[in-house]
Each structure stands twice: as structure tokens, then as C-alpha cells.
Symmetry: C2
Subunit: 347 residues, 2 copies
């Protein structure tokens, strides 16, 4: 552990993930001496209470990073692109929660339980993976170590909070309008920056983020590319279908995994996952115990259940993976990266 | 076409699917002379308007089937088990919408676009497949004919109306309670006959029907076994994960399919599906056009979109299949079977 008095900056402190970042720093008792809260000019001047002290949010400018050792960014990709290198230039290590640098070969993309040692090669910026990727690789890594991962087919059931506070508001106001038989106009989902918007309440939208030329969405490509990078499996067969649901918080994933090694039993899969860091097994069909998004809210764990052996293969399994997309999927993993940096003597 | 004056009975006429059965008979202008509406003793005596005439619902007893040529059953498995053979004994052909006889080798399990000729071997009872199976095989059959189906991995996104009128009421009242920050007690979902009940509003429940010994639910086993039977593909590799969503009507499916034949393009898959009976292609990512459950309500089609080639295989594709579970998934398919019986001279 470092003994220098740490100066931390949280960039995007007024947003949903920024708030969770502060909660997580407090919950995990992350050690620091000085805290600077940064946000856009629009949000500057707001006062945020943290551990009994009042902090005035400052505008995020290059100069604001003077003296900062660790900057936790979650203010959108354009802010990260504009300011992360400025922060690094001034001596900070950046943990970035946007997609801006994730596929940059110079930037480690880290889930501490999976590839903590990639931090040793950092050049100032470290990327936090996409929420739906994090919970999946957390479950796949321990299985890969024992059985050798070969192929993944994943379908997601994602919550609207992954699309921000306005998307949560849209889901709630739409649900209310439908229940009261009133009119409404979709304005945010599936994707604020795309042309058309669709009803999310009492519906399912098979689009998260923008479409790419190959017909996959950017969210799907993130899951596929980030998983290969984090797990150091460039040749992994992996494909994703990402779907937005009328759920406020908690992403779920129906996952099919094929392994190199044949003959594992459901009980062996359960034992491997039970012993894994950060994973909580919830898998007792006879007692109707399985993970559900509404039950995952506020908890940092990745929950795994519904583990079944494929009826037609001795090498394949199905499972259901759930986690709070704002915690392990975002803030919790970012603070875990900061803890790993301390542990490895990098901070 | 038969020219005899047909006498039809609808068993379960007061239920959600029974009502859709009557609507569908009317919409499709199905020819008949006499209509008898049957239900449990509790519902007997109710008066139902149909094509401008009033019908008094009678109690479903063996004697009620005297003189009936065609009986459409959708009053639950126990009613079918008790009365279907009684109806057949009295000369009726039964189209049964429950799971009671689906896997009986003596009973054809029919989706007319897929295996209409199986009707030729009927022995009185014909089974209507499970809702989530019907829409899947309707999309898979034309692809199988051209490319040879080898393997399917499917994850479902199912509406609560599949669990009956009380489940719809539970979703709506729970959503209202949550929006108003009031307490509620789950009583129906995931499965009225199971021990524990969970929140469905703003949640996703990975259980539909009861768990089997192998860890799959009965709904999942239905999709797997019925697909093999309907498509006459005993060796098909198929596995399903079935999930209940806070959606009123419209089942969605994220499907991964591997074929024998290599090298098909996305455009070829689209062309095959466009030409297929009962399928409507909704697949223009550049215009954000894809199927969604809320947009499928009240329509008899099976909608397919999000067609993507698997990035790691020249033989595999992903797609998203949506249909109104009360129409093509139930009533519409039952009446289609009746039309096929007429066309084949069996009625």
C-alpha cells in the first residue's frame, strides 16, 4: 500500500455513476487525503455532501488536474477524450469508465478478478470495461482457468439505468402513462443519439447503442471485443445480442459457453463459481433460487444461477448472470481498479 | 372443402385464449353452421356475443360434445385430459391448445406452415404447440429447407399474458404500486402452481413453468422437445432458456442457429424469410427497423429481424423473432389447423 497522501478527482461527480463512485469510495473505505469533484461547466458550483463534508463541484478543465494522483472519469466519452491525456500529463493515473480508450492497445482494460496484472503495463490511462462485459468475464474467467473457454453465445436483458438518468425517468413516466391510458412520446430510448425512439415500458427493444456496418450494435461489439481483450483470448468465438428491458437497474445475461475440456458436471461448475472472487452462486432450482435483476440492486456481487449442462454436448453449459450495472458494472469495478493500483504499488 | 354444415365447440370460451379463438374464427371467416361455447361449471350461464348473436356458455361435460364436428380446447391441461377423448368418442376432432397431448406419439403436433401433412395421421386429437415453440419453428422451417438446420440456442423474452389474465393483472397492479412507492405481495408469477412468487414489474424472472430434474424448466423442455417433433428432427441440437418479462403481450426470442450448408449471406436469409408463409421480415438496422413485442400485439404474423452472420462461423446466424403469443402462439394457429383439416378433406 502507498503511504503518500492521495489526491483523488471524480470527473462527472454529479451523474448517476459519479454518485455511485462516491458511495463506493466510502463503502470500501478507500484511503485518500484530498478529494476534488469535477463536472461540466453547467454542473459546476453544485455542493455535494461526502462523509460529512461539503464539496463544491468545480469545472473539469486541464488545470483542475494539477496535483491529482488518481482521476476517476465517468462523464461521457467526449469528456474523457478531451481531458484524460491532460490529467495524465499532470501526473494523474486515469481510470476511465467510458468506451473512449477501451480498445486502445496502449490502454489496459481491467476487471481486477480477471486480469489485474495488465495494470503493470499501464501508461497513465486504464479503462473500465462496459457494464455488460464486466459481469460476464467475472463469471467466465474461473471457468476458463479450469476448462478452457472456446465459444460464447450471449443474449442480454439490460436495464435502462445503463442509458442514464433520463432513460430511468422515461421508463417510469411511460409506465405511468400506459397504466393510466394516457398518450406519451418516446424521446430517449433506445439510444439518445439515434434518430428514432421507441416505447420501453412493457416492451423489449433489441437495440443498445448505434448499429455498426456488420448489423451488430456497438454494445454487442463492445461485449465481443472487450471480452477477447480482457481474457487475452483473441481467437475466442463470441457473439452477443443486446436487448433493453423495462427494468430500472440490474443487467441479466443468458449465456451459452462451450469449453475445451469435456465431462464437467453442473456441480463442478457450481463449485468453481462458488470459490471465485466476486461471484455469488444462486442456483437451487428445487427451491426456486436464481438471480433476478430487482434482487441485485445495491449489491456489488455478480450473481450466477440456472446452470444447466447442454443436453447435446458434454462440453457446453447454460447459465444466467445478473449484476447491478451501476456497481460491479461501473463504479465498484473502477474503485477496485484503484485498490489494485495501490496493492501493486502503482499509486 | 367440406360442404357438411359444421358444428364447432369452443372449450374455455370465457378465458383469454378462448376469446381470441372466437375473434379469430370471425376474422378468418371460418365456415360453420352451429357454435357451442363451453366452460367450467363456474363460468356456465355467462352470455357471450359473437357475430351479432348471443350465446349462453354451457358446462363442458362429455354429453355436451354430442353432434360436435370440431372442438377447440383451451381450458387447461386437466380439462383436456378429462374431456378430449370423450369428445373424440362422440365423433369430434379435437384441436387442443394445452400441453396435455403434445408429446403423445399418437397425436400430431402441428404448425400448418411447417408440418400440415402430419394431420393426415390424426386419430381424433391434434395438439397446438406451445406459444414460444410456434413462432420459432415458423421461422426455422423455411431456413431448414434451404440450409439444413443443425443446432439452435434460444433465449426467450416472454410476456405475462402467457400465464393468464391474473398474471396480466399482477403485472399492472405491481407496476402501479412500485411507481407510487406502495407495498405489494407477488401471488401469481413466475408460476401459479409453484411455491414461491416473485416481483415481475421492472424485473426479469428466469423461470417459466416448473423445474424438471435436469435443471431445465418445463417451458424450456417444451420448446426443445416440441421443435424436434414438429420439424421431424429427432437429432437436432437444441437448448432453450425461458425468461418472463414485464411485457403484457408479445413473446421475443434471441436465436442462434447453425446450419449444415456454409456460405449463406444475411441477404439470402432475409430472402428466404421474406418468401415464407406467415413470416414478416422487419430488418433494416440503418432505419432502426426490427421487431418489438409492443408492436406485434393484435397481429397474426411472426416478425423476424436483427439477422446477423456469426462473426466466427460461415454456417451460423443470429436473429430476433417476435409474435403475439395469444394469436399465432395460440388461437390463430388453432384455427389455422382447423382450416387445414377442411382443406385436406378431414373435416
Amino acid at each position: 500500500m502507498s503511504s503518500k497522501p492521495l489526491h483523488i478527482a471524480v470527473v462527472g461527480a454529479t451523474g448517476a455513476v459519479g454518485q455511485q463512485m462516491l458511495n463506493t469510495l466510502e463503502q470500501k473505505k478507500f484511503p485518500f487525503e484530498k478529494l476534488t469533484l469535477l463536472a461540466s461547466r453547467r454542473s459546476a458550483g453544485q455542493v455535494i455532501e461526502f462523509k460529512g463534508k461539503s464539496y463544491t463541484v468545480e469545472e473539469a478543465t486541464p488545470a483542475a488536474f494539477e496535483g491529482v494522483h488518481l482521476a476517476l472519469f465517468s462523464a461521457g466519452g467526449s469528456v474523457s477524450k478531451a481531458l484524460a491525456h491532460e490529467a495524465v500529463k499532470r501526473g494523474a493515473i486515469v481510470v476511465d469508465n467510458t468506451s473512449a480508450f477501451r480498445m486502445d492497445p496502449e490502454v489496459p482494460l481491467v476487471v481486477p478478478e480477471v486480469n489485474e496484472n495488465d495494470l503493470l503495463n499501464h501508461k497513465g490511462i486504464i479503462a473500465n470495461p462496459n457494464c455488460s462485459t464486466i459481469q460476464m468475464v467475472a463469471a467466465l474467467k474461473p471457468l476458463h482457468e479450469k476448462l478452457g473457454l472456446k465459444k460464447v453465445v450471449v443474449s442480454t436483458y439490460q436495464a435502462v439505468s445503463g442509458a442514464g438518468a433520463k432513460a430511468i425517468e422515461e421508463l417510469k413516466s411511460q409506465a405511468k402513462a400506459i397504466l393510466e391510458d394516457k398518450d406519451f412520446t418516446p424521446e430517449i430510448l433506445p439510444c439518445g443519439s439515434d434518430k428514432k425512439h421507441y416505447q420501453i415500458a412493457f416492451n423489449a427493444i433489441p437495440q443498445i447503442d448505434l448499429f455498426q456496418e456488420n448489423g451488430f450494435t456497438y454494445e454487442e461489439m463492445k461485449m465481443m471485443n472487450e471480452t477477447k481483450k480482457i481474457m487475452h483470448l483473441e481467437d475466442l468465438h463470441i457473439s452477443a445480442t443486446c436487448v433493453r428491458l423495462p427494468v430500472v437497474t440490474g443487467h441479466s445475461e443468458s449465456l451459452y459457453a462451450e469449453f475445451e475440456k469435456a465431462g464437467a458436471s453442473v456441480q463442478e461448475i457450481r463449485d468453481i463459481l462458488s470459490a471465485a472472487e466476486g461471484i455469488t452462486l444462486q442456483d437451487s432450482p428445487e427451491e426456486q433460487i436464481y438471480p433476478m435483476p430487482a434482487a441485485s440492486v445495491g449489491l456489488p456481487d455478480v450473481f450466477v444461477g440456472r446452470i444447466r449442462k447442454d443436453p447435446d454436448s458434454d462440453k457446453a453449459f447454460h447459465m444466467w448472470i445478473v449484476s447491478d450495472n451501476l456497481l460491479k458494472g461501473a463504479a465498484w469495478n473502477s474503485v477496485q481498479i484503484a485498490e489494485s493500483l495501490l496493492k501493486l504499488g502503482l499509486l
